[in-house]
Symmetry: C2
Subunit: 208 residues, 2 copies
């Protein structure tokens, strides 16, 4: 199909498609003349994916490019999930908080390297900086619950279709995150109504 | 203290402090001359909070301003958690997916309005756009788990100190989110090693 039909089918404006082509988020079509190219179903699918990552999940262009590269490159499921890349392997120092937590959770197979462990360490350090450290007990219970969420997701990975599996994992990790965060926030409302009552007034004026 | 000492105490460069002052993220000090002002402990604390929100939690300036305004303004705990603002109340249409899920979870006290329900609806719609809709059963189990996380957090809210409570809730909601997401990703690694083995090769070349 031509670009105009690709635009109609995908609902993405022609100017945006051209931008994605320039940025390398969409592979070029098959050239049919000096000024025209032909696109196929794979382009329609890829556009839906790019759109979801950029517009819905709010990923940066750089992060979207990483996710797409990972989808397109053969690697082991575990490396894929761990985000183990050369770039992330040089810094494995200073992950004491993350390691201690992961060990308490009994997740001892998790390698020290990898983006996920680095992000966990950073996130725990940020809580400390803000003076909001969680007690170990609460952190462990929250960790166990997030482990159950992760287990449900890993169980859902299709084992017989590696390409579908990679897509499921990478896109799911990015797009399910906002669902979980929103569920947590709605859960806050639900539980605070139960604990404090619907009209519970809180004077939060720090001047008092 | 002078700005130079505020900078030393907080570890935030003078230029950045001036920027936060201009943007209204930090209240002005008490003017002592035409060119100087005095700052106190409240400025040190506020700077730590701004830094955590902007640098660690990665909130935008606009969102940081909202969180700080909410911390500084008396409102009920439930409104605080729901993010019920005038701006968010005009659009309560088209939240069918979120409402259905929240009803299945038995969270019937949660009002239709509010930012959290809006974000849940958007996040569920984004999954659908990407062709990654979760089956109701899985969504319900994940929702129940996130509800348990939220319950733990609401239980931890200090009931006797409203200002501390507001800070805990708002800052916690922003700063704990990256911890949960990182725990989920590390959990993916743990459970995929268990399911697929450490070396499980996945050929994800979509050209095959």
């Amino acid at each position: 199909m031509r670009m105009s039909e690709l635009s109609r089918r995908s609902g993405v404006p022609v100017a945006t498609i051209k931008y994605y082509l320039r940025e390398g988020l969409l592979p070029p079509g098959e050239r049919t003349s000096r000024t025209q190219a032909r696109y196929d179903e794979s382009h329609v699918e890829r556009l839906a994916l790019v759109r979801a990552l950029v517009e819905s999940a709010g990923l940066s262009l750089a992060r979207t490019r990483q996710v797409l590269a990972a989808v397109d490159t053969p690697q082991s499921m575990v490396d894929l999930l761990a985000g183990v890349t050369e770039a992330s392997c040089d810094d494995v120092g200073g992950r004491g908080r993350a390691r201690a937590l992961v060990d308490r959770l009994g997740w001892s197979e998790v390698p020290e390297s990898g983006d996920a462990m680095g992000r966990l360490e950073e996130a725990l350090a940020a809580l400390e900086v803000a003076g909001l450290e969680l007690p170990d007990g609460q952190l462990d219970r929250v960790g166990a619950l997030m482990g159950e969420v992760a287990a449900l997701e890993v169980d859902g990975i299709p084992a017989d279709d590696p390409a579908a599996a990679a897509r499921y994992v990478l896109v799911g990790t990015a797009l399910v995150a906002p669902v979980l965060q929103a569920l947590r926030e709605v859960g806050h409302v639900h539980h605070s109504v139960r604990r404090f009552g619907a009209g519970a007034a809180v004077a939060t004026d720090p001047g008092q």
